[in-house]
């Protein structure tokens, strides 16, 4: 991509006007928000439970569906959903942890992966039976309809909100885990659960709530996605594989790492869509392969 793309005017890069490029970068950042939210949820769960939550994609989908159901059956709009849905779906996570995952902690971690994979199949199958596959409409909240012209692009208000809200949630989560007392218990329990238990902290309950919180993050992302993507049972199935790659690239060691990697890969994917759209769905996997070659533990990870 060097010589043939050289252009005479200074306002374009590789034949793409700089202005358009700004637009595409912004779009990439918005998509990165979803990667960041989802990989953050995975990282939080992994940190304490040592389980890769394969159900994450299905729980993201559930988030969107519960929002749809609240709107169509109970007349509760977007803002209610944003508050209620993570609680509802997070609670189903708590039930799953209590009834199933908690039975597996003494076994190989692979069993956790297999169990959550099976759960994902069940959940997606049930929703497909009930709601079909062509997808369901979900209205944009009136407050965020429309958009503004930024000069270099037309930015729908809702997309701007996606960046702001997910950045807020990501940084909030990071703050709670890294800078508060509650977070310090959590981190301590990750290192040595027996010791923390001895200090009189109810570690099993902390594990349950952590899983619930991770699931709630996925559901939150689902609600965010409902007005812009089609609400359909398969919406999380392929996405979760990309998020796995994001997690491998970032390494699961750090909360901040997963957030930064999520946004960064959104940007890179956005650029690919402009310069070589054919590769836009493989670029993240290619980056994963390269990172594995040079830094097997991931960019922010430490090999355990």
């Amino acid at each position: 991509m060097r010589a043939p793309f050289r252009t005479t005017a200074m306002d374009s890069i590789f034949g793409v006007p700089v202005q358009a490029l700004f637009g595409q970068l912004l779009i990439g950042l918005i998509n990165g928000s979803f990667y960041a939210l989802l990989s953050l949820g995975l990282a939080v769960i992994f940190g304490l439970l040592n389980i890769i939550n394969f159900t994450h994609g299905a729980q993201y989908m559930m988030g969107a569906f519960v929002a749809y159901l609240l709107a169509s059956k109970a007349g509760l709009g977007y803002w209610w959903s944003l508050a209620l849905v993570p609680l509802v779906v997070g609670f189903t996570g708590v039930v799953i942890e209590r009834l199933m995952l908690s039975k597996l902690y003494r076994l190989d971690h692979l069993y956790g992966l297999l169990l959550t994979f099976g759960l994902a199949l069940i959940i997606q199958g049930l929703f497909r039976n009930e709601y079909g596959t062509s997808g369901l409409p979900y209205a944009m909240p009136a407050e965020l309809a429309g958009g503004r012209n930024l000069g270099f692009m037309f930015l729908p208000n809702y997309r701007a909100w996606v960046i702001v809200a997910s950045l807020g949630v990501c940084i909030g989560t990071w703050f709670v885990i890294e800078k508060t007392k509650l977070g310090s218990y959590l981190r301590a329990a990750t290192e040595n659960p027996a010791l923390v238990q001895a200090f009189g902290i109810n570690v099993p309950r902390m594990i349950t709530l952590t899983y619930g919180f991770g699931v709630a993050l996925a559901a939150f992302a689902g609600v965010m996605a409902a007005p812009i993507y089609q609400v359909s049972p398969q919406m999380g199935a392929d996405l979760i594989i990309v998020v796995f790659a994001v997690v491998v690239i970032g390494g699961m060691g750090s909360i901040m790492g997963s957030i930064v990697t999520g946004f960064a890969l959104g940007l890179i994917e956005g650029l690919t869509k402009v310069f070589y759209p054919e590769a836009s769905n493989t670029v993240i996997f290619i980056i994963m392969a390269i990172v594995l070659m040079f830094k097997p533990a991931g960019l922010f990870g430490s090999q355990k």
């Binding site: 779009i27 497909r128 039976n129 079909g132 089609q230 759209p277 054919e278 836009s280 769905n281």
Partner: protein, 379 residues
Amino acid sequence: MSDGVIKIGVLNDGSSLYADLTGQGSVVAARMAIEDFGAAKKGMKVEVLYADHQNKADVGSAVARQWYDVDKVDAIFDVPNSGVALAVSQITRDKGKAFVVSGAATSDLTGKACSPNTIHWTYDTWMLANGTGNAIVKTGGDSWFFLTADYAFGHALERDTEAVVLKSGGKVLGKVRHPLNTQDFSSFLLQAQASKAKIVGLANAGGDTTNAIKQASEFGIVKGGQSLAGLLVFLTDVHGLGLEKAQGLIFTETFYWDQNAQTRAFGKRFATANRGIHPTMIHAGVYAGVLHYLKAVEALKSDDGTKVIAKMKDTPTDDPLFGKGRIRADGRKVHPALLVEVKKPSESKAPWDYYKIRATIPAEQAFRPEKDGGCSLVK
């Protein structure tokens, strides 16, 4: 009759991409056709079997083989997904049975892959590209930008449509290939917006089309003066999108339930039996295909697949949904096509009242001329 019973197999997608526009609805349509034909009164025993091919060619061909070999099925109907349909067509030919396609799109079924045992009823890719491309250019949409799903089917749709657009005097300002099953179209839509083309052609299907339409409305593509042309859109897709998002979309169909008294009566009856979902053109095609098949079996007093298909081609068709028509030597059923535009929410008076019919393309112009398909059955 081979075994005193005529066994009809409805094979389609019961669980994923095409489940709503084919699925159980096609079984309902087949049953209605058997009832309307009056099989019971005529003393003919007709049974319907159903299977889900999950959009997998290997599952579909395994079911077809087993149906023919073990379950003594006489004819298979519907089969959306071109890959599965091509496989089933080959097996049907090997076994000397009958295959009436409604769900699949590829025009190869009556072109280079045509078969004396296959009839393609409802629509095909050539007809969609031609109907939509030609009609839109003629009504002033002469500059296009394509959003194409990056796989064989998307490429074929884009190629066929582009050819029609150019031939009708339009021009193509650009195109972008997006991966199949893309969730986020915003980047591609920005490129389409920047092209300033009057028409954004969606050479994709299913979830890709609906996602693109949904996000186009968000980015103000239609409000900004550009129009969206869907190349493969069905009634159920519009229902899933809602009129708010889908309004103004232009595409081609061969059947709409609100065309005349007969289609309305069919639509009501069908919806009652199918969870309120109104019939798509594919459902209508299954109904009409089964009806015509049974007429041919009755006339021949035989359910020999090859003979029945030949008889079906010899007999002019007549049914309440597609009216009078015929089946060509290459297996292509010809009937008029409808260029439709999705109504604004304010124009829609009842649930499922979604289309304005902008133009009707006569049967003889709607489909690819017989001689151009490269079918070996055409002399």
